[in-house]
Symmetry: C2
Subunit: 210 residues, 2 copies
């Protein structure tokens, strides 16, 4: 995987899609696929697929296609999904709790290792197999947990504060569910998931009457 070239964000997002489709094919014992197959299964143009892979090297054999197992494992390596990633969640409300118990994350090698909250009523309570911890101790706690991925599942009003704490706790990538723009230092990657925004876009597409 030649580095130094910047990979377009859409390519990375599609890579995750390919991985999920390939995992499925692997389970179903399908050995080989072509870029054309990928197109029918994902809607991504075949040339797009090949181009996406080309950022990371050569993966297929002309005339034959791609070996499912090999391609799957190479994408896994590119996305750093081979080893289990510890993840911390801040916010033990409905959303944080749902995420903590979300099975597909575990299936994909992400392990929720701690859930933090600031509410004294929640601290100490059990959530799935975890004990909710005081967010005030996150810097200390993460010295042993060593999570590099953090999830912000708190109201917008306290999201920046929580994000700052995560950065202090040496978390370097953040998935933000609060509908607010986080200001973060260089080197920290954020992705925002905004349910209201998603629904607003759908709302725009609603038929005019009816």
């Amino acid at each position: 995987m030649p580095d130094g070239i910047k990979v377009p964000m859409p390519t990375l997002e599609r890579l995750a899609t390919y991985f999920s489709v390939l995992t499925d094919l692997k389970v179903r014992n399908i050995e080989t696929i072509s870029s054309a197959d990928i197109e029918t299964r994902t809607g991504v143009n075949a040339a797009q697929f090949r181009k996406d892979l080309s950022y990371f090297g050569e993966f297929g054999r002309p005339g034959i296609g791609y070996n499912v197992i090999e391609l799957c494992s190479r994408i896994s390596r590119i996305l750093k999904l081979e080893k289990t990633q510890p993840v911390v969640i801040v916010g033990a409300g409905n959303l944080g709790s749902a995420l903590a118990g979300y099975q597909p994350l575990r299936a994909e090698n992400f392990r929720i290792v701690a859930v933090f909250d600031s509410n004294p009523r929640k601290i100490g309570a059990q959530l799935w197999s975890l004990t909710i911890k005081d967010v005030a101790n996150i810097v200390e706690e993460n010295k042993t947990l060593k999570a590099k991925i953090g999830i912000v599942a708190v109201p917008a009003s306290v999201a920046q504060e929580v994000a700052d704490r995560l950065v202090k706790a040496k978390v370097s990538t953040i998935l933000n569910f609060a509908p607010t723009m986080l200001r973060l230092p260089e080197g920290v990657t954020v992705r925002n998931v905004d349910f209201v925004q998603e629904l607003a876009v759908l709302s725009f597409h609603l038929p005019e009457n009816g």
Copy 2:
């Protein structure tokens, strides 16, 4: 709002962001803003902001800027957020439950009017102020509910089946949380939210060692 011109998807997404920022400014009694202000608050380039608005008409005054209240209400109209939108959720698991109780949706004029599930243990149970209903009856139920927006919060294995039912129930836009590509008829809009994909992209950005 001259129609017939296709609005880029990124523009629509940013429109929702502007709306949320403007709502906040309105509450804080700020009367006027410039595109440069928007840039500092959202990170969106000032020219981009003006271009985004230009798809829908003229909104500001040269030399002055934009009236917060007016701009807010016009974006609200563009995104069809002025009147309350009924929304149905299929899937009363952790995620569906969290979404049903998610306050910011309500604040933005989306009203969860029903939650459906297929599990007999869940059907009839209370969730917030709603009674969980049998998904088998969704077509019938939605004749009175008249929801045009549906949320799919079920496992990937049954997502397509659920989406088909939603379409039969005259839902025309779907927010899909299942990590699978839904095949839907022309005229039905889908947006996918994939937590695993989000984390996979973050995973890619993780520092090589540490």
